[in-house]
């Protein structure tokens, strides 16, 4: 079973966000970058499936030099090999362009299953997975919390509003990971040492035969980043709990009119 896991390197979720000079992107100086948390579930699941059924897990990431560290982390967790689509600007490109780059790199290797997180935290788009599935003309199941591999078929549990859909798809297929899929392992010391010897194939965009669209012709791009709107001062009650409770219920009904 050949498994490809796509990972995105993102600012650590605790990062304080500052805006860069052009106001369209964040200031990355001093930011700690990590593997996007949902992608970690995908990496873990890929390794578990290989451990159960054999085969190889390849991790693919796109971005500048620093993405190499994220790929090393995945290798240390137990992934077999990595492909780094190395480009300084690709992280700022639109999702479809990123999906095209991933599709081109993945088409060159054998795959039965593609895994990735349901979205990369930060840009929070959640688009690359389904776009990649379309470009590769394979079925997709998004935001899955359970995966069972059968004979050339995968069954996945996907959480929807108020229910769980159990979806069956023939392989090859693309699945995106939801929290609850598994508990990702930490790289062991042995894994970290072994990762140093595992191959990372570095591919630039010209090698893949693709180019980024000019910023003005991207189908979508960030025009401006702003601080979130303030919520204004709240009314805080510190007195007797019973009286506070009664007063807040009254305000919810008479002032906010929400109950």
């Amino acid at each position: 079973m050949n498994i490809v896991v796509c990972v995105k390197q993102v600012p650590d979720t605790e990062t304080r966000i500052r805006f860069g000079p052009d106001g369209r992107w964040i200031d990355e100086s001093g930011v700690t970058f990590v593997v996007s948390p949902y992608d970690e579930f995908a990496v873990e699941e890929g390794i578990r499936i290989r451990e159960a059924r054999g085969g190889e897990v390849t991790v693919v990431g796109a971005g500048p030099e620093r993405v190499g560290q994220a790929l090393r982390t995945c290798l240390a967790m137990g992934v077999d090999r990595a492909i780094h689509i190395k480009d300084d600007a690709i992280e700022r490109a639109d999702s479809l362009t990123i999906a095209r780059a991933l599709a081109t790199a993945i088409k060159a290797i054998p795959f039965d299953l593609i895994l990735m997180g349901k979205y990369g935290v930060g840009t929070d788009n959640g688009q690359v997975g389904p776009m990649l599935a379309l470009l590769l003309d394979i079925p997709q199941v998004c935001a899955v919390a359970k995966i069972e591999i059968g004979e050339r078929v995968v069954t996945a549990h996907r959480e929807i509003e108020g229910a769980i859909e159990i979806v069956e798809a023939p392989l090859p297929a693309l699945l995106t990971a939801e929290k609850g899929l598994n508990e990702p392992r930490y790289p062991s010391l042995k894994g970290i040492m072994a990762a140093k010897k595992k191959p990372i194939d570095v591919r630039d965009l010209s090698f893949l035969g693709i180019s980024l669209p000019a910023p003005g012709s991207q189908p979508i791009r960030w025009q401006k980043l702003e601080a979130p709107p303030g919520r204004g001062e709240g009314k805080i009650f510190r007195g007797d709990p019973g009286e506070s409770a009664r007063e807040v219920v009254r305000l919810l009904r008479e002032e906010a009119k929400v109950i």
Binding site: I26, D124, G126, C142, R158, E159, K179, P228, R250, I259
Partner: protein
């Protein structure tokens, strides 16, 4: 003729999603500002009877794609239906609700059409005839205004943010389209749907959410949260800490690695307000925070805050709400 604004009106089990009616209403406002036609699409099996409800929200044209192949949701079946509607409407803008279905469907269709897609939007703007969208990024720590280029722009809209607004009766042309898709083209299929236990209201759908965190001290005390939620007709939410501790299932989790919600009323009980939690609920219209710690960050987001012991506060609230409802 300029292209239309197309809204995918999502139905599940023969019921139109409220968030889709919000998307239809925002579609109407957008189409009016740009001087375009508003076209709605309902896809499914036996969905003709939903037409009247959708028409009340003001589309100029309603497309119905009714096929047994669309009885259960499938990415490929619904993507084909939405694709047909985009072509039929010569759509320039496509709106969907940012639901499980919308999140699955929109990117696949956007890739097929080479469209720009903005997900989980909280505002749509049309200044000077230019269509833009605003969406939270970095888990709500920043807001991005996005611009589109090309012939098709798509956006999914965060539920509970855009007002749903019925329109006075007006002419609406109803067009039935045949689904152009062989059955074999649907590869990923829903084989079974398991309803959540006890028919609880899902936090993603709820207009009132009562959430509990570590301050509850014991999983058994979630009964207090359930009781308050029940008194208000709301859903039960939870912080990441208590989900990770196994007190309640992940489906209830609100926040960065849970669900992003924007109800009319969000009550956070014994939740300190870690940035990951705030990311999931800070666009709620009214936020009530109940916490013993006056310095808890949740109070910065609160419309109303009660500094105090939740075990003393919540029973009083339940009592007061029941009394008001009985009046």
């Amino acid at each position: 003729m300029p292209g239309g604004v197309l809204v995918f009106a999502e139905q599940r089990g023969g019921v139109l999603k409220r968030s889709s009616l919000e998307a239809l209403s925002e579609g109407r406002r957008t189409a009016d500002r740009l001087g375009r036609l508003l076209v709605a699409l309902i896809a499914g099996d036996g969905i003709g009877r939903l037409a009247d409800q959708a028409v009340a929200f003001g589309p100029d044209r309603l497309l119905l794609i009714d096929s047994p192949l669309l009885a259960a949701y499938s990415t490929e079946g619904y993507a084909a239906a939405l694709g047909q509607a985009i072509t039929h409407a010569s759509a320039e803008i496509v709106l969907l609700a940012c639901t499980a279905m919308g999140r699955d469907l929109a990117p696949r269709v956007a890739a097929r059409f080479g469209a720009g897609l903005a997900t989980d939007c909280v505002a749509l703007m049309t200044e000077g005839g230019v269509f833009r969208a605003r969406r939270p990024v970095y888990s709500g720590k920043a807001y991005a205004t996005v611009e589109f280029s090309g012939s098709l722009a798509m956006a999914t809209l965060r539920p509970n943010v855009f007002p749903a607004q019925e329109r006075p009766p007006a002419a609406c042309e109803i067009v039935r389209l045949e689904l152009e898709l062989p059955e074999s083209a649907i590869r990923a299929r829903v084989v079974r749907t398991e309803l959540a236990e006890k028919k609880e209201i899902d936090v993603a759908d709820a207009s009132i959410i009562v959430s509990g965190g570590r301050g509850l001290k014991d999983p058994a005390n979630f009964s207090l949260i359930r009781e308050l939620a029940e008194a208000l007709g709301g859903a039960v939410g939870a912080s990441r800490a208590v989900v990770d501790a196994g007190w309640i299932e992940h489906a209830h989790q609100v926040g960065q690695t849970g669900k992003v919600v924007a109800p009319a009323l969000y009550i956070a009980c014994g939740i300190s307000g870690a940035i990951q939690h705030l990311a999931g609920m800070s666009t709620s219209k009214v936020i009530v925070a109940i916490n013993k710690d006056p310095d808890a960050p949740i109070f910065k987001a609160a419309t109303y805050g009660i500094v105090g012991d939740l075990f003393a506060v919540i029973p009083k609230m339940i009592e007061e709400i029941r009394r008001l409802k009985a009046e």
